[in-house]
Symmetry: C2
Subunit: 263 residues, 2 copies
DNA sequence: TTGCTCCTCACGTCACGTGAGGTGGC
DNA sequence: TTGCTCCTCACGTCACGTGAGGTGGC
């Protein structure tokens, strides 16, 4: 009579009776003797074995692996446990990362799900006084670029961040933004275009390897052009037109001021 | 052309294409437009929504709940995230507990899976110089008792630990152990029995409520008797016989020196 | 042209959960 | 006698995984 029913066994170890029966089906736990009523009757060895099964299964070890480990010698078990423990440690680190992401999600700060380089770039744009709607346009454009060109977009982004470190570029970038509200015949439109061309000439004057940093895929160019061109602003279109006209042809091609269709 | 295929979308966010299609089937993510070949084409909004889905799903939120939360207002989202975060924190704590249990499993120290009280009792037995095979017998017996009588076995165990704090009891316990090797006619057998009865009389003399602490279930008694009786030792059986004969009947019944069948 | 990606079913997986319908123990 | 536990099928669940058989893009 010194034995346990399936319910007592399961409750003591902290599993369901269904789980115990499942372990019988899987061959992890031997079927015990039955009493006169056909009830399973468990001894203390079954308790100890079920505890081992639960410890391993709780740690995420697949039952097929648990089965092997139950019969393993202590050294092999220790090796396996070290391996499992490393996985569990990884899971803890992952969960802690998820806590951070959840907090960001609740805080509405979606930049945190972006690559660090892009988040840094967006912060730099804001720091340079770029209007928020432009920052958002950059954000969306770069997300698409990073997704489409995982191998190269980070290089392109690094290039753009380097440009942004130049005070002249920052001034032009802000000017481009303000120009959206101007009349296309405003004299500042031509001034801006001239300044842009001067900057470009200086920037790319001695860089023979510039092309390797430059976005060279037609679709990528279209992407960048579309989010940067402030659709619907005649002044911006006029600036772009003037820049294309004033820039030497070779330079314009290198840095893709020429839309894809015209190359 | 500023859009992504399902593979680009999935790779960027870190899920499989199958998962994306699954989210479409579940209604979590709207089916995007198709291109001329029937391929799905995703925009940046789909990227951002899929990131939100992944953050929540990774945190263990069921997809049905994820669906609600995607449309929730910021306050409701913050509440839900706080709740989810509490669950994730619980998971981290659980994983850390599992690491400890895994380490114990690898170290071969199975006592750690037992209730703290039992582990402490076993340590006390060892500290009192009790032979290891007796400690193991106690261990197995108490595991079964704890499993069969979850409500009361901890009280019984507390009682036994209190007994063990008495130096006289410890001496008797050790004597009982040594007696296993004696001849049943050894004069020390009768001495031990007399000492046991004297101890019992003193121990239970003034305790009117002793019975409430005592194991009162026939099966439980049989359990304790069977693991403690050193089956096969004539000297031990003789000691038990003498104790039963010498103890006043009322005392013998209270503390269950009388086997169940004879009550 | 070859390999890669995409498409739609539709069954499989993992570790049990959940009735369905019935019997034994207290 | 009533409620509780036990028994054996056997289908259901959850979030996809994994071919099967076929087509489009570079």
């Amino acid at each position: 009579m010194n034995d346990l029913t399936i319910g007592q066994l399961a409750a003591y170890v902290g599993v369901t009776t269904r789980a115990v029966r499942h372990y019988h089906d899987r061959g992890l736990l031997d079927e015990p003797v039955r009493d006169a009523s056909g009830y399973r009757r468990y001894d203390v060895q079954a308790v100890l074995k079920l505890i081992r099964i639960k410890v391993l299964a709780d740690a995420g070890v697949p039952l097929a692996r648990v089965e092997e480990l139950l019969d393993a010698d202590p050294a092999a078990l220790a090796d396996a446990v070290a391996e499992i423990d490393a996985i569990v440690r990884g899971q803890i680190a992952e969960l802690e990362d998820r806590r951070r992401r959840l907090a960001d999600l609740a805080g509405g700060d979606e930049d945190v799900f972006l690559p660090g380089d892009l988040a840094a770039f967006l912060a730099e744009l804001r720091g340079a006084g770029v209007a928020e709607h432009i920052v958002q346009a950059e954000r969306e454009g770069w997300i698409l670029l990073l997704a489409r060109y995982p191998d190269r977009a980070l290089d392109w982004l690094a290039r753009k961040r380097a440009d942004l470190a130049d005070p002249d570029f920052r001034a032009l970038y802000r000017g481009y933004d303000h120009a959206a509200g101007w009349d296309p015949d405003d004299p500042r439109v031509e001034e801006l275009a001239t300044a842009i061309v001067r900057y470009l000439e200086r920037r790319y004057a001695d860089e023979g390897d510039a092309a390797s940093f430059v976005i060279d895929d037609p679709t990528a160019i279209a992407l960048q052009a579309s989010y940067f061109s402030e659709e619907g602003s005649p002044a911006i279109e006029r600036v772009a037109e003037l820049v294309r006209a004033k820039a030497p042809r070779a330079l314009a091609q290198t840095i893709h001021l020429v839309p894809p269709g015209e190359r």
